[in-house]
Symmetry: C2
């Protein structure tokens, strides 16, 4: 046999990406074999190379796509919001929504940083930094206006991000808690931790 009936490049690539996402999320990059991946897509192992350069490139593409989408969408959600408090609320809501919607990408994006080539890792870390900076900006402006009281901007930003991101490791959309409640509870935690009320 050879080229199969109905085969189309873009469709196969999309299937490879989706299967890769599933397998890396479940087992990790190192634990996923290309034979496993090929089987799930319905291909022979070698056929993968018609669509990806190699295993490492697949991982990088998945993470890179995710980071670019993340940065694009936070810009949209923050556009036009001047007040730091409102911006922080918007940031929290966006971050939680995105991390629930794209749970797997987010998880892989941090858990598999170590599996990236140094060169590839550098690129991704740079993009992550841009996202962190977006939150730091908000906190800084809030402190400047005396709306927030924070001893160390970057440490606070990391703490907030860690808290919000940590949620995606346990949140189950089919569980008892719906998305809005989740957002409300965590927005409360973030705002209380930031306001100079006490």
């Amino acid at each position: 046999m050879s080229r199969t009936v109905g085969s189309s490049g873009p469709k196969t690539l999309a299937a490879i990406r989706e299967a890769g996402l599933q397998l890396i999320y479940k087992d990790g990059y190192e634990a996923m074999s290309l034979r496993q991946l090929a089987t799930r897509v319905g291909l022979q192992p070698g056929s993968l190379y018609n669509h990806i350069a190699n295993k490492q490139d697949l991982l990088f593409d998945l993470i890179h796509n995710h980071m670019v989408a993340l940065l694009a969408r936070i810009e949209i959600d923050l556009q036009g919001i001047e007040d730091p408090l409102e911006a922080l609320k918007a940031f929290t809501a966006f971050h939680l929504t995105y991390h629930i919607e794209r749970k797997r990408e987010v998880f892989i994006g941090s858990a598999e940083l170590r599996s990236l080539t140094p060169k590839n890792r550098k690129i991704i870390v740079g993009l992550r930094r841009k996202y962190e900076d977006r939150l730091c900006d908000i906190l800084e402006r809030g402190v400047a206006r005396k709306q927030f009281a924070l001893e160390d901007i970057r440490v606070s930003a990391y703490a907030i991000l860690a808290m919000l991101t940590g949620i995606c490791t346990w949140y189950n959309p089919k569980g008892p808690m719906d998305r809005d409640t989740l957002i409300r509870v965590h927005t409360g935690l973030v705002l209380d931790g930031v306001t100079p009320s006490r």
Copy 2:
């Protein structure tokens, strides 16, 4: 050659554990080969099996030891503290201290859960749950006494744990921030997020 001069069982096992900790922390469980491990300890690959049952067992032992130590030490630090606010402060300080001191064990303990056999994973998840419950107890008692105001105990506990644990992924003890400052900043964040002041 054969048995080498000065060789002793317990010492070699300790060396294997330490090297395993280093390698798994740096590269991940799947990425670490037993040949790499043996080289670092100064052994032939096969000799490892005089001390460990197999690769999976080494991972489980490392994580299990860590969890048992964690549970033992939190009990000591919370002993005799009645006031929920004080208990929460003590919990935060302990958690941060332990997670800085035993950064590698903590990281492996959550990042490599997926690499455990289902049976082994069940045991570890059970121990983690016990630790989470310790924090839930404190929060619950605080809410009962109206010292804390929280909508959902377990979600709040997860949020706090995520925030505090996230720190160990970026904290550098040789960086500009010392341990006490770190604890002070984060205790502030946790307490503000929990108190009914607003």
